[in-house]
Symmetry: C2
Subunit: 350 residues, 2 copies
């Protein structure tokens, strides 16, 4: 099958898939929170309509070059190799500011606690959040604490909301990818999601895994300042790289072609994914950045990214067609469509 034939086939499959997820369900399922297709149907079909939102970026632009972004955190377990719910909540919101090209001004922290939660754990989480802020020279300036009776929450849930300021002239947007652009990933894929899943202990796997949870603030700043043109920045969290690129493909009306050979995936992550039957491209990262820029700047972007993480890689190209599609050119020369995450194989990874 030629690539043209493959693309035609993909286009057909895509049309068939449309409408498979709708808001006809009567009750919320775990799928609605997995960050994939059901989440996006819920957000587009309910929230965006009620609040009159436009394209759903991770951070909203306000007057005076301000941006606002919010995330709640329900990760299980709350402590995992490489981080905890406190540092994760700070990194996640800093990263949503960073992908809008904004410098963080301040964060808020909302805490929901289950009655009986150990104060020592709370202290550790709060300290971890404070340390994550300190290293990025940003502060949590306001907060709120609620306590619910035992059994009405799973230990602790957090919300961090960030306000930032855009100080550059790039028009970063999920809708700004153009045919011919290059796709960069700032480091190995899927470490966070797999680490959390394995840390839950149900799988009895003994793998050396560490979450990638980290701020991408400095990398985003370096790309924004170092590149003459930059089209999209996106942190591939819930739903992973494949879901993030599907959002970009849909918003930009383009296709994304990834090269399987170019994808940086650590062996233990690849191994765990194979055992679990999960595509690492659907697994959340919490300290990685997807960047899309004109191809003439791709090597320059890679040089910048490699000063932060040597395994940063150029992983694909933006094509004109089929619009709204992401596909993978495999090692064997085949072409495989990469859809948004459809189910919820990885609940509560953030």
């Amino acid at each position: 099958m030629s690539e043209a034939e493959a693309l035609e086939k993909i286009e057909k499959a895509r049309r068939a898939r449309r409408g498979r997820f709708s808001l006809n369900e009567e009750r919320i399922t775990l799928n609605h929170g997995a960050g994939g297709k059901a989440s996006s149907v819920l957000v587009e079909g309910l929230f965006a309509e009620a609040f009159g939102m436009g394209v759903l970026e991770d951070a909203a632009r306000l007057p005076q070059d301000l941006v606002l972004t919010t995330d709640s955190y329900v990760v299980d377990p709350i402590f995992f190799p490489g981080g905890d719910i406190g540092s994760l909540a700070v990194h996640g919101t800093l990263n949503d500011l960073a992908t809008s090209g904004a410098e963080p001004l301040a964060l808020s922290l909302g805490v929901i606690l289950e009655e009986g939660f150990p104060l020592a754990d709370l202290r550790r989480i709060v300290q971890s959040a404070a340390d994550a802020c300190r290293s990025e020279e940003v502060r949590i300036v306001t907060g709120d604490t609620k306590v619910v009776p035992r059994g009405k929450c799973d230990r602790i849930y957090l919300n961090t909301t960030g306000v930032g300021l855009i100080r550059h002239a790039h028009q970063l947007s999920l809708g700004a990818a153009r045919p011919g652009d290059s796709v960069l990933i700032s480091g190995p894929i899927g470490d966070h999601g797999i680490t959390v899943l394995v840390a839950r202990g149900d799988l009895h796997l003994d793998l050396e895994l560490v979450s990638d949870s980290a701020p991408v603030t400095r990398l985003a700043r370096a790309l924004v300042e170092g590149l003459e043109e930059l089209h999209c920045l996106k942190d591939p969290t819930r739903g992973g790289v494949a879901t993030s690129l599907n959002e970009i493909a849909a918003a930009s009306g383009v296709a994304v072609a990834l090269e399987e050979d170019a994808l940086p995936i650590r062996p233990p992550v690849a191994g765990a994914c194979e055992l679990l039957g999960i595509d690492p491209l659907h697994v959340a990262c919490e300290g990685r950045l997807l960047a899309i820029m004109p191809s003439y700047l791709a090597e320059k972007a890679l040089d910048i990214a490699r000063t932060f993480e040597p395994r940063a890689a150029l992983i694909g190209t933006i094509l004109e067609k089929p619009e709204g599609t992401v596909f993978l050119r495999t090692r064997l020369g085949a072409t495989r469509v990469l859809d948004m995450l459809a189910g919820a194989p990885l609940p509560r990874i953030c």
Copy 2:
């Protein structure tokens, strides 16, 4: 007993009470979330220290006259007479912006859903939040949805965070009350807390109660613009009027004297409080404003407030001593100290 003697006695009692709540507990209790003394010990002893916060206002001041405020909502039941968790979340955060004298720029909405939550209820709550925004000409510009497995949350929890802009020259602060100032309440006390408690249905009371949940944005704006001097604005939510005034008394180093006769309390609220053994001054309002201004402006402030709600009232005076104390002059001429809310008689009222 003369008032001087009474005050002396109060001062002694206050010293004895100090330190009764400390962070020596090993586990979180419902008290830590009730908005009273245990909450403030938790916030001051743990969060403020870790994040290097100063005086804990409801909204934090940022550079460029911006303010940021956050609140999570875990109210039970989620629908109650006069509102629901959606409108409450919008009003609560708008009111925290209003009490800092800020005009709202935008809100964010974080949603945590329990698997199985009816989509129709979600739609109703989202619509109610959107309507609450529309009437105040503010928008929810960004959001986030998480879903947790059945039994890991009680239906729905929300977080709203607001960013606002200060456009006036008043130095509003909980620490700005001065001896001689007057204390205004913008309407009847305790309606929200009692309504929610009764709506839970455990009490089998048949009272005509409606929450006061409402935005105080316009009233705050009218006071800010209409008064030459204004010292404090505060919405008496968790912990009620008594707790809010204790916070002001402590932050300002003053005493607050309330006149029992002047307190506007609806008969069904007073009746329910008597049955339950709760002081209405410890019951949350969600659409009321406490305002403190020099006494020469008290009548002017009252006139402004009465254009919004005819039962607005001047309820007390700021005194020099005993510092950090709130007391009530009763109808019978006695003096009774009003402490911060100490326990958690009213869990999950917001």
